[in-house]
């Protein structure tokens, strides 16, 4: 990793983990928007994970939903603290993905994507009808994360209804972890197998790679992180019902990833943050949002399919080229 990259990553981390909380600790609104951005970023990143094996999943919201429901049940019906139900929900979601992965990944490409769209609706309708999962009313009164203290020393403060700051730190932490894990994954041999699966599945198969298994693995990894977001979300809004997890959110995850640049690790994050703040900025004129979004999506896919980050990259290359081409001072 180049020095520039190293420095910029550290800078970004400092901004999010130190500056933002410092500057905005009293602005509940700003904190809330950042929390939304972070949640979106993580799920958009999971879209990217599935894209690494060559599939476009419009159904990530199903895994978010699985995590939310798991966490709600674990805490309301089994009394588990949030800090335990969080990772457990991720695992439940991943297990769910492993279960359905094999049959649904029998389809590829466009067929698979359509399948994920339908799956979202099927899941939502299915959950609606199950009473023990709350039915149409969903869950309410989900407990807030508990504070952790050793004697008088407070490790984790109280989570209450008025201050979003602790929530902010939790989700910022989750985003950092997700980014870290996915980054290492990409550089690892498993990440290389994912890419090989996408670039030439037949050759991969001939080299002993069980392509189906790796596709399912990618799906499960994506489900884990989506499940974490679901769990967090459940304890953040403390109320949800089947309609909270809509297909339109799911589609947004994909589109935000594309606009930011799905081939890049930071793409989904850039897309999510940029667009969320854009919508906030538009605020009162919200009815123009759909058209603006549409224009953005179409422009990106037509003119820079690599997303916003590919634009940045081309400008960087342009700068390098210009530096070489233009006469140096002193000639």
């Amino acid at each position: 990793m180049t020095t520039f990259k190293r420095v910029s990553v550290v800078v970004i981390l400092v901004i999010f983990l130190v500056l933002v909380p410092l500057l905005f600790r009293d602005s509940q609104y700003v904190l809330h928007v950042f929390i939304m951005c972070s949640q979106l970023s993580i799920v958009s990143l999971t879209v990217r994970v599935v894209f690494t094996v060559g599939e476009l999943s419009f159904g990530q919201v199903v895994f978010v939903m699985a995590g939310a429901y798991a966490s709600a049940i674990l805490s309301t019906k089994m009394g588990l603290p949030f800090w335990i139900s969080l990772p457990l929900s991720g695992l439940v979601s991943a297990a769910f993905a492993t279960l359905i992965g094999r049959p649904i990944l029998r389809l590829r490409g466009t067929y698979f994507s359509i399948l994920t769209v339908i799956l979202t609706e099927v899941a939502r309708q299915g959950i609606r009808s199950l009473k023990f999962l709350g039915g149409p009313q969903g869950f309410h009164g989900i407990p807030r994360p508990e504070s952790i203290h050793i004697g008088k020393f407070i490790l984790v403060p109280e989570f209450n209804t008025t201050d979003r700051l602790p929530y902010y730190f939790v989700i910022a932490f989750l985003l950092t972890i997700t980014l870290l894990v996915l980054w290492r994954l990409e550089k690892s041999p498993t990440g290389a197998v994912f890419r090989a699966t996408r670039q030439n599945a037949a050759v991969a198969e001939s080299l002993g790679i069980n392509v189906t298994r790796y596709r399912i693995l990618a799906l499960s990894i994506s489900a884990f992180f989506a499940g974490l977001v679901g769990s967090f979300s459940a304890h953040y809004i403390t109320i949800f019902y089947p309609e909270t997890f809509s297909l339109w959110n799911s589609i947004d995850y994909v589109l935000y990833a594309f606009i930011g640049g799905i081939e890049y690790l930071w793409g989904p994050i850039v897309g999510s943050f940029a667009l969320t703040w854009l919508w906030e900025y538009l605020g009162p004129s919200a009815q123009y949002r759909m058209v603006l979004f549409a224009v953005l999506v179409i422009a990106v896919i037509l003119f820079f399919p690599g997303g916003f980050l590919s634009l940045v990259k081309s400008m960087q290359s342009l700068r390098i080229v210009l530096r070489k081409v233009l006469p140096k001072r002193g000639d």
């Binding site: 476009l56 049959p103 649904i104 029998r106 389809l107 590829r108 490409g109 466009t110 067929y111 994507s113 359509i114 399948l115 769209v117 339908i118 799956l119 609706e121 099927v122 309708q125 299915g126 609606r128 009808s129 149409p136 189906t212 339109w248 589609i251 994909v254 589109l255 594309f258 009815q287 123009y288 949002r289 759909m290 058209v291 603006l292 979004f293 549409a294 224009v295 953005l296 999506v297 179409i298 896919i301 037509l302 399919p305």
Partner: protein, 287 residues
């Protein structure tokens, strides 16, 4: 017996509407491998044409013709301007593009027509009774026109040179190209047809229900369900799938109470997806 027959008839009628609704998207998919998620929004545009047609007292059939022509041209234009550029770059491009298109059309519709849904008054009134079975006259006429259009499409694909060229394109694009088929022209034609059918469906079906800027997003599901049941990429499958979906729905709704009915429908889709994901007649890419 009468009740059973009524349910079957209702099912077939609804089913035919589903077929009419889904024909366009099946066409673009089977021939160009493009899932046009904005398809149901073209339906919506047709629906609004019907609405304004009735507001200004324009003849029903004139509106239908207009929808076929205008929206057909729109299809050709959008193919040339947009879809052609993302051709052959993998399945993600056209899908994301059509999503963008969906938002665009819905967004513009929201701005232009407002939030409220609109109803279109029926042009043909009355009910016909045959034995113990009753048919709404309007519905009958809609079904009749639908059948005509569907038959027309099948004849076109089967007998007319351009239709056959399109089928060749569906089966093997490279071979079709080598045989001198102009892919650009056929692609435009395909989109034009798909869009006009969607628009026609809009004109025909909207008076029976309603229209609003978001109608597309709700109806696209029905299209997907037809595609899944009948088979992705098969026009005949669309026919079978639509009718089957209508029949199943009619029976389920008749004999099973409320929420359970919805669940059964979705459970059915799930089972089909898991057991035979390519549908009854589809040629899904299974490995």
């Amino acid at each position: 017996m009468g009740e059973f027959a009524q349910i079957v008839i209702n099912g077939l009628i609804i089913g035919l509407s589903y077929v009419m609704l889904s024909l366009g998207i099946t066409l673009t998919f089977s021939i160009r491998r493009v899932i046009n998620i904005a398809h149901a929004d073209i339906y919506m545009l047709g629906g609004f044409m019907a609405y304004f047609g009735s507001q200004f007292g324009i003849n029903y059939f004139l509106v239908l013709m207009a929808a076929l022509v205008v929206l057909g041209c729109l299809g050709a234009v959008l193919d040339t301007l947009l879809f052609r550029r993302v051709r052959d770059k993998g399945p993600a491009g056209p899908m994301v593009l059509s999503l963008g298109l969906m938002y665009l059309i819905e967004g513009v519709a929201l701005l232009a027509f407002g939030e409220k849904v609109k109803g279109v008054p029926s042009v043909f009134k009355g009910v016909i009774h045959i034995g113990s079975i009753s048919f709404g006259v309007e519905r009958l006429i809609v079904m009749g026109i639908s059948l005509l259009l569907i038959t027309g499409l099948f004849l076109f694909l089967g007998r007319v040179k351009w239709g056959q060229a399109m089928r060749a394109l569906a089966q093997d694009p490279e071979a079709a190209y080598l045989q001198g088929i102009d892919i650009n022209r056929m692609s435009m034609l395909c989109f034009a047809l798909g869009f006009s059918l969607a628009g026609a469906a809009g004109v025909l079906l909207t008076p029976l229900f309603y229209v609003g800027y978001a109608v597309g997003s709700t109806l696209i599901f029905k299209c997907f369900m037809v595609l899944v049941i009948g088979g992705l990429g098969s026009v005949l499958g669309c026919l079978v799938g639509g009718l089957l979906l209508g029949l199943i729905e009619a029976f389920v709704v008749a004999y099973v109470p409320g929420q359970l009915a919805v669940l059964i429908m979705f459970a059915l889709i799930l089972v089909i997806l898991l057991v035979r994901p390519q549908g009854l007649m589809g040629r899904g890419e299974l490995t």
